[in-house]
């Protein structure tokens, strides 16, 4: 049964003063083998073709991505020479200068380094099926990725990761947490994920002025538990109570590891740093969400996408290095998702429009590095003129759900053949 979020929380709030999460100190924490999944949404529809370039199809790629009069500095197609240092094969052990199959975008040096570790899976040709009626709508596409459903109607289904972890108590903070704002991904059938605005050190109450701050704090505490006069007020109150109840725990984990030497070079670093701190602190959270935007590159793509991809790779390196230094990386898996790919051909604004198949990354000690799926053809497209998909996006999610201890069939409604990257 599809349940709108507020009805879940409204019911919880109406039952009295209860936190939404299991606050008992005896709550189960993640065992040492259980996978912790970090999902990163690349908001806007990342251009997969300019993220991983198929070297055997380079000629077609160059033609598609070069407008009639390419201006200096705004060319979308990468020069072949620039791709040599970042080339890779399905066998991750093949060094770049010997590789002939694919290449990361020139700005993705960090990602190339990650690939060398044998822990990065590059999944080619992932996307929404043609039976998704509006695959090229940002909203529809993101909802599909977050819920694991297609053709979603007026009522949003729960998120696939929230559902997978619905029966997991996690620690004092519950089983899921978003550092990237409210997300349907972490809304299960029973619970809604904690949201922390980075940096988590500031997760707390900032009080108004008064002559007696102790009175102020006490009054606020009492207001937070007074029965609200409306259902919408109860909803707000439920969230507020949860937030207040969780302050001590969040601060506890923030204090365990200040991570003052964690490199903070991007907004994604801020999000991943706090996720790392929660993991290192054994918070018991099993599902995390982060996001970065700016991938909807309809114009002047060369001025935006390379930097974003560089940021993505570097942030993953920063994250993994920190976790490894604390012996906390073993069970952590990171996945990327994005609305859709982009059109094969560039437009006259030196950008690309909404398209089809894309590339997905999954990284972690548990991941079998390499490439999965052939690169879509750059001469034979789907009926909409876009890159054809190899893997329905739900196929990727299914493998991850199993890795999390869930059942892909139960969560997604269908079984999918294992891809095998984890």
């Amino acid at each position: 049964m599809l349940i709108k979020r507020r009805k879940i929380l409204g019911a919880g709030a109406a039952l009295g003063v209860t936190s939404l999460y299991c606050n008992a100190m005896a709550a189960e924490e993640a065992s040492s083998n259980e996978t912790i999944l970090v999902s990163i949404l690349l908001n806007g529809g990342n251009d997969g073709l300019n993220t991983v370039v198929p070297l055997p199809q380079y000629g077609h790629y160059y033609k598609l991505r070069t407008p009639a009069t390419p201006p200096t500095g705004l060319a979308v197609a990468y020069d072949e020479a620039d791709l040599e240092l970042l080339a890779f094969n399905s066998d991750y052990k093949v060094p770049a200068l010997s590789a002939t199959e694919f290449a990361f975008a020139p700005s993705m040096l960090a990602m190339r380094d990650l690939y060398t570790t044998g822990k990065l899976a590059v999944i080619n040709g992932v996307g929404l099926p043609l039976t998704e009626q509006n695959a090229l709508s940002h909203y529809n596409a993101v909802v599909d990725w977050l819920t694991g459903q297609i053709n979603v109607g007026a009522t949003l289904p729960a998120g696939w990761l929230g559902v997978t972890l619905d029966k997991v108590n996690g620690g004092a903070l519950g089983a899921t947490a978003s550092l990237g704002g409210t997300t349907q991904l972490l809304i299960g059938k029973a619970k809604q994920g904690l949201v922390i605005n980075p940096p988590m050190d500031y997760f707390g109450i900032s009080y108004g002025i008064s002559d007696n701050q102790a009175n102020m704090a006490d009054a606020f505490k009492r207001i937070a538990v007074l029965p609200a006069a409306s259902t919408a007020g109860s909803f707000d109150q439920g969230i507020l109570q949860t937030a207040v109840d969780d302050i001590a725990s969040v601060k506890h984990y923030a204090n365990i590891n200040k991570a003052s030497d964690y490199p903070l070079e991007s907004w994604l670093d801020y999000q991943l740093r706090d996720i790392a701190r929660l993991i290192v602190g054994h918070a018991g959270i099993r599902g995390y969400f982060a996001q970065i935007g700016g991938f909807d590159t309809h114009s002047q793509q060369a001025l935006q996408q390379p930097a974003l991809l560089a940021q993505l790779g570097q942030s993953l390196v920063n994250f993994y290095e920190f976790l490894s230094s604390k012996n906390a990386a073993t069970n952590v898996v990171v996945m990327t998702m994005t609305d859709f790919g982009r059109r094969p051909n560039v437009n006259l604004n030196f950008g690309t429009d909404h398209g089809g198949a894309n590339v997905a990354f999954v990284f972690g000690d548990k991941v079998h590095g390499g490439t999965y799926g052939a690169y879509p053809s750059l001469t034979h497209f789907d009926p909409n003129g876009n890159l054809k998909i190899n893997y329905d996006f739900r196929n990727v999610l299914s493998d991850l759900i199993y890795a999390m201890g869930g059942s892909g069939k139960d969560v997604l409604g269908e079984s999918y053949k294992k891809i095998g990257f984890i």
Binding site: Q192, S206, S210, S234, D236, L240
Partner: protein, 518 residues
């Protein structure tokens, strides 16, 4: 507290400190209007004004109680005859000298200040709605003069005819830049604007019955309004436009223009929605396409439902959508169509059923507080950007003109997505910064004027002891409040509250769940 790039940049670029504070006049009371046709209750008026204005101080609520909701609506719909002087918006665009970074803040603050102070409240509320509906980011447009022009167009048409509004917005430089239609050329069409003009701005994705339900095809799947082929063809139809900016021209009014380049228009037959279209090649193609989209059968229920979702309930029943969509269709050619639709929404027997049923948008929460308390704003020239109201709106998740996505800050029907644990704790900080601020403080942008508040309390309650102040605040912010909340606030205030205690009580009430709802 989240450090935004803008905040860091602001601190780096501007090191001004406030030398003097310039008190901007508190919002004047709404004048009594013509004889009421109904006698609404106080709670009904407070609810109505929360929805269709940015809330009102108790005195103004009393005035509307006396004159009636219908009279208020009628006066507001005749907005041209409401005095709108007294805000910094009047000094724009000359204040936008050359599009440099400080001008971004000047523009934003002027608009927010206007929303707080204007007497044209219905127009201002619809301005916010259309800015959400036609969300465009200043970060992408990059020129506050272009955004100012865009905002002026939205405001001028906010209560007018929808087709006129849609066409006007479609021809704005800001929209052309935001959705890449400024380089949409016949030789390589860009589909961005074409897609969103249908998906977001007019018909929506799915074909709808008049009551907002999906029309379904074989297999029970909803029918769609357009295919990918339609998107590609509509993109061809709207080719040939460009935004021309003279970087050496410092006059914000003449620095840019939207021009049509016939040579860049698609030179071939264009067919969408199943037929060849006689798309004009004289520069009116955008009007041609958008004019048709405005009147397609799915547009009325799509737009009606969105208005209801933003102004009444996140889940409007089919009968309500049907009623409003019917009015929408009937008034399709009326110059004040949107105003008539708003009246129909309010007059519908279901309207008052949804009292306090939705969370406030974050901007409503802050702007409403400043209207009701009363809030004061520094003149922009004296503001230290790091502490500005815009920074607070950013922290609370809704800095105007920087929408998070093409759906603005939240998708219609999902305002509750703005309510999460991180957001509510950030809210405490935002409200603390506003209520703690002192006039003429070195880092003050906006503050609550306690002396003026006490004058109002005296006028309304006969004095300023703790009970009287408490009664006034509770009436203003939470429609009186529950007995337990009343007892808590009055207990906190004590017998003779000073300014600190009053500020503290305001902070408590602004954080109360009962304040956070519409």
């Amino acid at each position: 507290m989240r450090q935004t790039v803008r905040a860091i940049l602001a601190g780096a670029l501007l090191g001004t400190s406030i030398l003097t504070s310039v008190a901007v006049a508190a919002p004047p009371a709404i004048s009594p209007i013509a004889a009421p046709t109904a006698s609404p209750t106080r709670a009904q008026v407070q609810y109505f004004l929360r929805r269709f204005s940015f809330s009102a101080a108790p005195e103004d609520v009393t005035a509307v109680q006396g004159s009636g909701i219908a009279a208020w609506l009628a006066a507001q719909e005749d907005w041209q005859n409401i005095n709108d002087s007294g805000t910094e918006l009047e000094t724009l665009p000359t204040a936008l000298v050359n599009g440099s970074y400080p001008d971004f803040q000047i523009f934003e603050r002027a608009v927010v200040q206007h929303m707080i102070l204007t007497n044209r409240q219905l127009q201002a509320k619809l301005e916010l709605h259309w800015l959400d509906h036609f969300a465009v980011s200043l970060a992408s447009v990059g020129d506050p003069a272009i955004m100012y022009h865009y905002d002026q167009t939205i405001r001028a048409n906010a209560l007018g005819n929808f087709s006129t509004l849609l066409q006007a917005v479609g021809n704005e430089a800001a929209m052309l830049i935001w959705l890449s239609n400024n380089y949409n050329s016949g030789s390589a069409p860009n589909e961005n604007f074409a897609r969103e003009s249908m998906q977001l701005y007019s018909t929506g994705i799915y074909d709808l019955n008049i009551d907002g339900s999906y029309k379904k095809g074989t297999g029970g799947l909803p029918l769609v309004n357009y295919s990918q082929k339609d998107v590609a063809q509509v993109a061809r139809a709207m080719t040939g436009y460009g935004v021309v900016v003279d970087p050496n021209n410092n006059n914000p009014q003449t620095r840019f223009s939207v021009q049509y380049f016939p040579g860049n228009h698609y030179n071939g037959s264009i067919a969408y929605f199943g037929r060849t279209q006689p798309v004009p090649t004289d520069g009116t193609a955008i009007n041609f396409v958008l004019g048709e989209l405005a009147t397609r059968s799915a547009t009325a229920p799509f737009e009606a439902k969105e208005l209801l979702q933003r102004f009444v309930t996140e889940d409007p029943p089919a009968s309500y959508i049907s009623d409003i969509a019917t009015v929408w269709e009937k008034t399709a050619k009326d110059p004040n169509q949107i105003a008539e639709v708003i009246t129909a929404i309010v007059n519908n027997p279901l309207f008052f059923k949804y009292y306090n049923s939705m969370p406030k948008q974050p901007a409503e929460l802050v702007i409403g507080a400043l209207r009701q308390m009363p809030g004061m704003m520094q003149a922009t020239a004296n503001v230290t950007p790091g502490s500005s109201l815009l920074y607070e709106l950013n922290n609370i998740g809704q800095e105007l003109f920087y929408p998070a996505t093409v759906f603005s800050f939240y998708r219609p029907g999902d305002v509750e997505s703005t309510v999460n644990t991180g957001a509510l704790l950030a809210r405490t900080g935002v409200l603390a910064n506003i209520t703690n601020a002192q006039p003429s403080g070195a880092y003050t942008d906006t503050w609550i004027d306690i002396p003026t508040l006490l004058t109002r309390v005296t006028n309304a309650e006969g004095g300023t002891d703790g009970v009287q102040v408490g009664d006034y605040l509770l009436d203003a912010l939470v429609d009186g409040g529950s007995p337990k909340l009343q007892s808590l606030i009055k207990g906190f205030l004590g017998k003779s509250p000073n300014a600190n205690q009053i500020s503290g009580a305001i902070w408590l009430l602004l954080n109360a769940p009962d304040y956070a709802v519409n």
